[in-house]
């Protein structure tokens, strides 16, 4: 259990906090110290809105021990509206309910627990957008 590592990363994982290049405005997730496009070292925090489309996905049936409680679950490649492409677990839907091109939204969920006495790690997952209408 690496508590300091989780603590350093937790805010970026809770909020989907990436970075934006101050020179060319390229948006990155995860956060980059050096802009991958123009190599500028001037990057600032940038909160992504957490919306995107599924580009590809796969069904996970033999996950690592710490994810067994969630199986079976899907992992998807998601194109965020701001541009970055990220890999994330899908929640609230199984692989057979997903389609390429489907709109998804970020949600903060439990990623894993270190046994009964360790820390609980929360972070981003994605799910099909909760549709709602008002009367």
């Amino acid at each position: 259990m690496n508590v300091p590592r989780h603590w350093r990363e937790q805010v970026r994982r809770y909020r989907l906090l990436g970075s934006k290049c101050c020179d060319c405005e390229e948006i990155s997730f995860p956060y980059r110290l050096v802009c991958p496009k123009c190599r500028s070292r001037k990057c600032e925090d940038y909160a992504l809105i957490g919306k995107g489309k599924i580009l590809s996905f796969t069904d996970i049936n033999s996950p690592p021990q710490e994810h067994k409680y969630n199986m079976p679950y899907a992992v998807a490649l998601i194109g965020l509206v701001e541009g970055p492409i990220i890999t994330a677990q899908i929640t609230d839907a199984r692989a057979e309910e997903l389609e390429i091109g489907m709109d998804v939204e970020m949600v903060t969920r439990k990623i894993m627990e270190y046994n009964e006495d360790g820390i609980i790690c929360y972070g981003y997952k994605f799910r099909p957008i909760v549709k709602y209408a008002h009367p």
Partner: protein, 347 residues
């Protein structure tokens, strides 16, 4: 009880997990009579959900309706009896996730099913005293009943949160609130125990009914109102029967209760229960509607609120999902999957 400054609800948000288990399925497993079950079905959290993740969804929905920056919140208070950690606040994780940190008061509140409404009352005081412009109070639970216990049929997951601010910016103004508590041993859970116990003969008459009735009557006495002055009333919903009975005793007709009575479809969300019922009424109410709301928590006590809806409800309501949309987002699961999601099966 009224604060110095007039305050109200600037935004509200709710969340209910999508999984449902039918009461008849629980009755099938334990060999109980499926005709005698208390409600239709209850909500069940997914394997990656807990009070923290549900509270985060609630807080984000409340912020969408309020239209304020998270940094403007001066309190993130969470009422729950299902804290993921025995020691370590739920509220700091939620405050961090919604970007309200670090200049914010964060705390977990505890009082069985009343824990949520007391955070709202504290927010009223915090904003009403002028210490804060905005404060967020959330009631949330992922309640568990012991397998085969009567509470297993209703113990559910979900919650609601309210951002309190000045009445000028509010979608509903808080007219007044009252609390009523006594030491009553109707329900408890000791440290390190997985499931709560209840004192059978204390459930009902000397607990729920006494506290809800006395608290509600005290608030109406203070304001000089009576049930005819209200368009809707919400009472804590441990099942379908109790809120309907208590409304009848107090003199609220059934048609003023039904829009806020959601326990038949999702169960008892404990600290979230009365607050979710209130949200489902705000989802359909209009300017000038008056709403009466009384919570109940074992141990025992009630908080009552008198609320009047303003025209601002119209612009903000549609900015986040309604209670009804979460009720309709459902996937039925059987007892085996329910047992797995609730970690009743040890791996």
């Amino acid at each position: 009880m009224k604060p110095n400054k007039s305050v109200g609800i600037v935004g509200y948000g709710v969340y209910i997990p999508k999984y449902r288990i039918q009461n008849t399925e629980i009755a099938r497993v334990w060999g109980n009579d499926p005709n005698l079950v208390p409600i239709r079905e209850k909500s069940v959290p997914g394997s990656d959900e807990d009070s923290v993740t549900i509270a985060i969804e609630i807080a984000r929905n409340a912020l969408k309706r309020a239209g304020i920056e998270p940094k403007d919140l001066k309190a993130v208070w969470i009422g729950t009896e299902s804290k993921p950690y025995a020691v370590k606040p739920t509220s700091t994780i939620v405050a961090e996730a919604i970007a309200a940190t670090p200049f914010v008061n964060a705390a977990d509140w505890e009082f069985a099913c009343k824990a949520g409404s007391e955070t709202v009352q504290a927010c009223i005081a915090y904003v009403g005293s002028g210490m804060a412009n905005y404060a967020l109070g959330i009631g949330v639970d992922t309640a568990q009943g012991s397998p085969s216990d009567a509470l297993e049929y209703t113990a559910a997951a979900g919650g609601a949160g309210y951002i309190i601010g000045s009445s000028k910016e509010s979608l509903a103004v808080i007219e007044s609130s009252v609390s009523y508590v006594t030491d009553t041993p109707d329900f408890w859970r000791r440290q390190h125990e997985h499931y709560p116990k209840h004192g059978n003969r204390f459930t009902g008459e000397p607990s729920y009914f006494k506290h809800v009735i006395n608290c509600s009557e005290a608030l109406m006495d203070e304001l000089g109102t009576n049930p005819e002055d209200y368009d809707y009333a919400i009472f804590h919903q441990p099942n379908r029967k109790f809120p309907l009975e208590v409304a009848k005793i107090l003199g609220f007709p059934k048609e003023k209760i039904m829009d806020g009575l959601i326990s038949p479809y999702i169960g008892n969300t404990y600290a979230g229960s009365a607050l979710l019922g209130l949200a489902s009424v705000l989802d359909i109410s209009k300017e000038g509607d008056r709403i009466f709301c009384t919570s109940y928590g074992s141990g025992a006590g009630s908080d009552s609120f008198s609320i009047e809806v303003t025209d601002k409800i119209n612009d903000r309501r549609a900015n986040a999902p309604s209670v009804k949309s979460y009720i309709e987002r459902r996937e039925e699961i059987d007892y085996a999957r329910y047992a797995r999601y609730r970690k009743k099966i040890r791996m």
